[in-house]
Symmetry: C2
Subunit: 216 residues, 2 copies
Amino acid sequence: MPVRACVFDAYGTLFDVHSVVPLELREFSQVWRQKQVEYTWRRALMRRYVDFWSVTEEALRAAARQLGVHVEAERLMQAYLSPKAFEEVSGALEALKPRPLAILSNGSPKMLEGAVRFNKLEGRFAHVLSVDAMKTYKPAPEVYAMGPEALGIPAQETLFVSSNAWEAAGAKAFGYQVCWCNRTGEAGDGLFLDPGGGFQPDHVATRLDEIAKLAG
Amino acid sequence: MPVRACVFDAYGTLFDVHSVVPLELREFSQVWRQKQVEYTWRRALMRRYVDFWSVTEEALRAAARQLGVHVEAERLMQAYLSPKAFEEVSGALEALKPRPLAILSNGSPKMLEGAVRFNKLEGRFAHVLSVDAMKTYKPAPEVYAMGPEALGIPAQETLFVSSNAWEAAGAKAFGYQVCWCNRTGEAGDGLFLDPGGGFQPDHVATRLDEIAKLAG
């Protein structure tokens, strides 16, 4: 199948939010991120959506309490308004031209606008899509449906790129071609082993600048 | 509000599945359980339900691979067909008479039947309810709705008992009176702090034999 468009996850994939967390808070940073993702899943299942800004704050407070550390909450939250893009992002997007590109993210519209502007990526994406329009979270299929809907291109001809293994499984289950950008050499996700065989990503890369070659 | 009925979570609340995992596999046991719960959330969100037996096997394989340990998969899985009830269970149920009691669990009907029979608890529960009837997982509200539906008693007059903090939040959000049985002295769940205030359990106990007093 040709790749006629690409859809990117934002946090962890395009933007490195944890680069701004001081090294001595590495454990905190991991627990924070883990709770942030967990709360999106649980709130989506409970049908008690609040936006990603609220979830991120909630996870920050819970992580600090669990670990008994004091953190500068406000400063850390700002990281989500101005996260640094990974170094290869601009070149990787350039190499995918002239395909239409989109962001599809758990982030709230305000958070995504901030991240795109901070990294001078305005105009590089045909669409910046937030789950906020659906009031639920990844990996719900109605979220993944926003990509083909906005782009007018079927999921089967679109490459979904994420550095989250759990999302690679979710996007694959929905029907995208999927590239899992495994930046840190993780082992892979348990759902990749689904006996139905439906959740294994088509490609694994370690950096985004490997994608243009995969897309053909 | 009076408590006219009680609904119990099964694994971790009534049944101690990890008592049978050898001590040297404690880390494995924790990762296994963590992945098991994670996969139920993700599969429910993806609308790719498979039953709890399959999820439990999938999580076992993924945990063993991640930790690089060899485990006797078949023997460990059997623990879910014959898990030991916590020592106070029988007395705690007796003390709640004559209220109708139910189990509401992620477990498949076969797994729940095995656990109830192994512990000679047949006849103690008016209903043994499995999410399998709804083909989704906790904390989806349609699962929690099975309790009032089967018992014919509103959630507001029913005490939901779970040792999982995330489930205490989910059952509370649905509308039950909730007792979180915090067996291990955990810190509590981030969603308990929801600014809407809706997810905090009504009671915290450390053992099930404290419940009859709470139920009044």
